[in-house]
Symmetry: C2
Subunit: 435 residues, 2 copies
């Protein structure tokens, strides 16, 4: 069996990929070249009927991911399924199941059933449950969950293969406050130190790729050393990216699609240099960003702090944004939190698309339509174009005006100025949309 | 009487300004030099007992403004007063009364009574109510409201003096979709075109400055041509800034403090160049930004789209951020909307401070404290440091764990990694905080 990347290298295009190209407004040949070079991934497990595949990377629109999943305190499969449904309703382009408690296989399959977009996991979470104590895992356990989940149809997997003896030494010397905040990363480091062994995902990366290749699973190279606070935005994460950059080459040689994950918490002025560095180090691998959160203190509003950082990251080349919810750092999110998180992240992704090469002309059309509806006081059309029509309508109806438009009252700038200005140009190709 | 700027030019420091310097952690002499050069303003009307003056500009922390005020559809003075109180509770550094209906003097005085931070207005709104029809205003009417409000103790006023025959011609040729969305700007343009006269605020700018000078009112040079949608982010706004840059020089010569307002709606990649251009054109005047909103389609979430743009603007030198609320483009905000708007904008302002020269060391301490509390699982301390402790606590209590920390369940990264990593550095001067 050939992977998508192998097909792309030969210029072969599976039928389903043509629809992806069409939905992105990109020529099929160009998309194939980008996949062949590893600058775009289209995660799709060979065992999966994927209704809505998504392209992630250069020259295609910015995608967002929503995490769902159980925790030891709270195992409610129906609720996690509901979260996946709601996340997709509001625009999630991928769902990851991060469950760590309950019947993991059952939960994963249930969530996957309702997921029409690419579906991802972090297999080490399941490996960590294979023995009573985490550090008692065998090296084989690391791979067993990968294989099982691959067989089950998981489209992409986060694997923390950049943790190794070298990067761990850099981390130890970096004087962190929070150390490691990646759960997968912490599990692996805990195992490595306790067992005095190299990270199996790193040591046996070729074996890992063989498994992934068989099912054409896309690997998302996990950012185990992502900073958990601004203070920890340091050289350790750069050290890990260097290893990830080397692993990217291996994936590409092998024909396995891969993306690279990024931080974390970072002061806003470090984001653009960091993302540009990641693009260089990984030779333009699609970047999957977790935030970055631009402050540590936005408890209850971390989805917003993360989306702000994501927008800045988008200016430098972020391709795929993991959402946060208002419950980040506090608890498992509710369905309502998931909705809020997706919407806020979607706003950042759209704002990125408005300035992204190859994408902005299409993205700008929506904003133009909205502004035109605003000019025409066409509220129905505005609600139609809004990311969250229900909320917008609710606010508007609260104060629906009897005298005038609810925006400005009778001193309406648009009307006052329209009278004064003679020329009304209506030209969707004007201005910004030309870039 | 001497204005603050005149005193600063001579090196004289009023007693109250020493507290401002102290609260900003800046040397008094440095603050005076910045005020003398017009790179920092500290708005304070001589007629006003201002409990909490605020410095705005270079080397001082980023400030945020909350707008309140009535509209023809809804005049409820108590509610506007309540909004001003709530806005200050959550961190607004300034309140502007934008009322356009009801007894404007009464409403303004009521809101001012509860306002402990600098208080601003847009006097043209009151001028516009002086005749039955807006365009029937006399030239004198433009100034009457300025004088009355100055006497009343208003600390800063938005005046759209950059609209003139030249900039209006540029605007007409720029092919905008929404034209003018600044209410003050639209009133003035409507008046200019109808009466075939130059903008009195521009023509008689010296007279305007005389009035402002008498009460030491800070002028906020209004951005009448701020783009109302991404499509309209064009040369017209640059044309206006050039005129504003010239007026800045006049203010500085006269000893009147001034700031300059900026857009509006802009694609995210235009923000940094635009803000840097504004700084050049105005010779480092304090910049008062309205957003910029990075997309037009975030109806119901425009406060977030605006805060995202504000953060990007902060990377280039934005000093003062006007909040938006979820009701922007839809209706007058409720008290709850005001709270939400202030918090989201405060997050952006704090994220800017984390990277702002002369400010970041102090700002970083809060984030360090929060991260330390997170490391120690000290939830009470985290809530104490949170911008919105009630909300954070509510989310946390929803799922307070019996088995483990609510963040990650039993697979706690922090604990797992702490065991594995030997070195725990506790050094608040490390890393980021050194910039």
């Amino acid at each position: 069996m050939e992977t998508l990347m192998e097909m792309a290298k030969k210029g072969d295009c599976p039928e389903w990929l043509k629809d992806v190209a069409k939905s992105e407004g990109i020529e099929v040949d160009k998309l194939l070249r980008l996949i062949a070079r590893g600058e775009v991934v289209v995660p799709k497990n060979v065992n999966r009927e994927l209704k809505k595949p998504r392209a992630i990377g250069r020259f295609v629109s910015t995608k967002i991911n929503a995490n769902v999943g159980t925790s030891i305190d709270y195992v409610n499969v129906e609720e996690e399924v509901e979260k996946a449904i709601v996340a997709q309703k509001y625009g999630a382009d991928a769902i990851m199941d991060l469950s760590t408690a309950g019947d993991l296989d059952f939960i994963r399959r249930k969530i996957m059933e309702v997921t029409e977009v690419p579906f991802g996991t972090v297999p080490i979470y399941q490996s960590a449950r294979m023995k009573k104590v985490v550090v008692d895992m065998d090296e084989d356990d690391f791979f067993k969950s990968v294989e099982k989940q691959a067989k089950d149809g998981v489209d992409f997997m986060t694997i923390h293969a950049g943790v190794n003896r070298f990067t761990l030494e850099v981390l130890k010397k970096s004087g962190r406050l929070l150390g490691i905040v990646s759960r997968g990363g912490a599990i692996i480091v805990g195992w490595m130190v306790h067992n005095e062994k190299e990270n199996p995902y790193y040591k046996d990366f070729d074996y890992l790729l063989e498994i992934l290749k068989e099912y054409d699973v896309t690997i998302s190279l996990g950012d185990a050393f992502r900073p958990g606070c601004l203070h920890d935005s340091d050289r350790a994460k750069y050290a890990e990216w260097i290893v990830l950059g080397e692993l990217v080459e291996k994936c590409r040689e092998k024909g396995v699609q891969c993306m690279v994950e990024g931080p974390g918490h970072m002061p806003a002025d470090q984001i653009i240099p960091a993302v540009k560095a990641m693009k260089v180090i990984t030779r333009n691998a699609p970047l999957y960003l977790l935030g970055p959160l631009v402050t540590d203190i936005a408890l209850g509003y971390d989805h917003i702090a993360g989306a702000m950082g994501a927008l800045v990251a988008g200016l430098a080349g972020a391709d795929f944004i993991c959402y946060l919810t208002p419950a980040e750092h506090l608890a498992l999110p509710t369905v309502e939190d998931v909705k809020e998180g997706v919407i806020v992240t979607k706003i950042a992704a759209h704002a990125i698309d408005l300035v992204k090469e190859g994408v902005r002309e299409r993205a700008m059309k929506v904003d133009y339509e909205m502004s035109l509806a605003r000019k025409n006081f066409d509220w129905d059309r505005q609600f139609e174009l809004a990311i969250d029509p229900e909320k917008a309508k609710k606010i508007w109806e609260r104060r629906k005006s009897q005298f005038a438009c609810s925006m400005c009252g009778d001193l309406c700038a648009i009307k006052l100025a329209q009278k004064a200005l003679e020329r009304n140009v209506f030209n969707p190709n004007h201005g910004q949309s030309e870039g």
